[in-house]
């Protein structure tokens, strides 16, 4: 276990904002604008691979570290592992990437990074998380996909 006793923070239990039916359904084919609150809502309940708590409760993800440029269809998410040598960092990043791939409209391009200075092999993890060929290959690995699915199931 990388961090046997991480600090767990109190978080809001409900949605951060009430979405109207129009937000959630929209017109078929219409361009639905997305903001950082919505993107944060998609990832905050992702479970930590090692603890029965959410990434939000561990402050691995933070609303302030989600940037959205709706016009350009770009999303940037930074995350902060609880310990700087955490070898779960890639798995956490992969879970965030897969969750966003499944939830965001397809027009979005997503970049995922470690918070600068938060990890001993920051550059290596960042490169891996943003190589779409490696991500595609990883998602064809049944074991890895199973672990990722466990982290992101029932987190909507």
């Amino acid at each position: 276990m990388q961090n046997p006793a991480p600090r767990v923070f109190d978080v809001a239990s409900g949605a951060l904002r009430t979405f109207t039916d129009a937000d959630l359904e929209g017109d078929e084919g219409a361009r639905e604008p997305i903001d950082s609150v919505e993107v944060y809502e998609m990832i905050r309940r992702i479970r930590d691979p090692e603890h029965p708590v959410s990434l939000e409760q561990l402050k691995v993800v933070d609303a302030g570290l989600v940037a959205v440029d709706d016009a350009a269809s770009r999303v940037r998410v930074s995350f902060t592992p609880t310990v700087s040598h955490c070898n779960m960092a890639t798995l956490i990043g992969l879970s965030i990437r897969v969750k966003l791939l499944r939830c965001l409209p397809r027009r979005f391009k997503t970049d995922i990074y470690l918070t600068p200075g938060s990890h001993s092999t920051e550059e290596e993890v960042n490169k891996q998380l943003n190589d779409k060929e490696r991500i595609a290959a990883a998602m064809e690995n049944a074991n890895l996909l199973g672990v990722v699915n466990k982290c992101i199931s029932d987190t909507d």
């Binding site: 397809r106 027009r107 391009k109 490169k127 943003n130 190589d131 779409k132 060929e133 490696r134 595609a136 290959a137 064809e140």
Partner: protein
Amino acid sequence: MLYDTLECIATLEGHKERVWNVAWSHDGTVLSSCGGDRSIRLWSRGAGGAWASACVLPEAHARTVRRVAWHPTRHVFAAAGFDAITSIWERNDISAEYENVAQIEGHENEVKCAAWNRSGELLATCSRDKSVWVWAAAEDMRDFECLGVLQGHMQDVKCVLFNPREDTLFSCSYDDTVRQWAHVDDEWAEVGKLEGHASTVWDASFDASGNRLATGGDDKNLIFWKRVEGTNEWKMLQKVEGAHTRPVFSVSWSKSHGLIATGCGDDSIRLFVETRDGEEVSFKQGLIVEKAHNADVNCVAWNPRVPSMLASCGDDNVVKIWQLR
């Protein structure tokens, strides 16, 4: 070459997932496409002249089919699969269907690219296992003998290609370098390293002379390299920075008119043109097709026989054919 636009003349649908690669047969009559749905699709002109599906090879591999490489003189192609296998397909001249005639094993994991040398007697493959393998093809394409396992790259090898004029081999990697390999003293060995990209090198393409190379990288740069005459040494000629706003996934240098096409993660296709000012040679962006696809453009490929024709594919599951006008 004079042109005003790149016009889309066909949008080919059928793939159910991301299309990674498009490639033309040596005679320019068949276009292959492959991708995340594990199939290989072949497209050609129907009786009325319209591009249409000619053949679907479903479940060609057990995992993603990353690239297809056509033999330089025959209706034979090699397909590189994430299932660690390189499969060889040959057209049956009686049924006109493509049959899987050989399965090449050896790599530990994902095969990312395959390439033939100019005579079609050698095949190179590369993988996430960091190695490049060189194979000798039997005349009947049923048997492939390994001539060398080339170690040197520190990370995944994304792409391999032979020089169009001689049997030197180039490989591009996640380790940010391009390496050059040649058959020296009876074995394949590394003879040079091209350093200049700041991140993964995704793809490369030679000009017709084999003396210049263009490479595209995750650093969003397109780099032109020139061989130092009479040597194996390559020097950077020009780094095109600021043109692409996302990774450059594909480069195709036309062997006939010399235009360089790129496929980019910003959904655009760009054409670069060589300009001369006295002795000074430089490459400038000549045309951009924004939103060429509704997602990343993964591959662009000039038709070897119809110089004005370009094929492309993307993360939108679509293959397109373009005409320069």
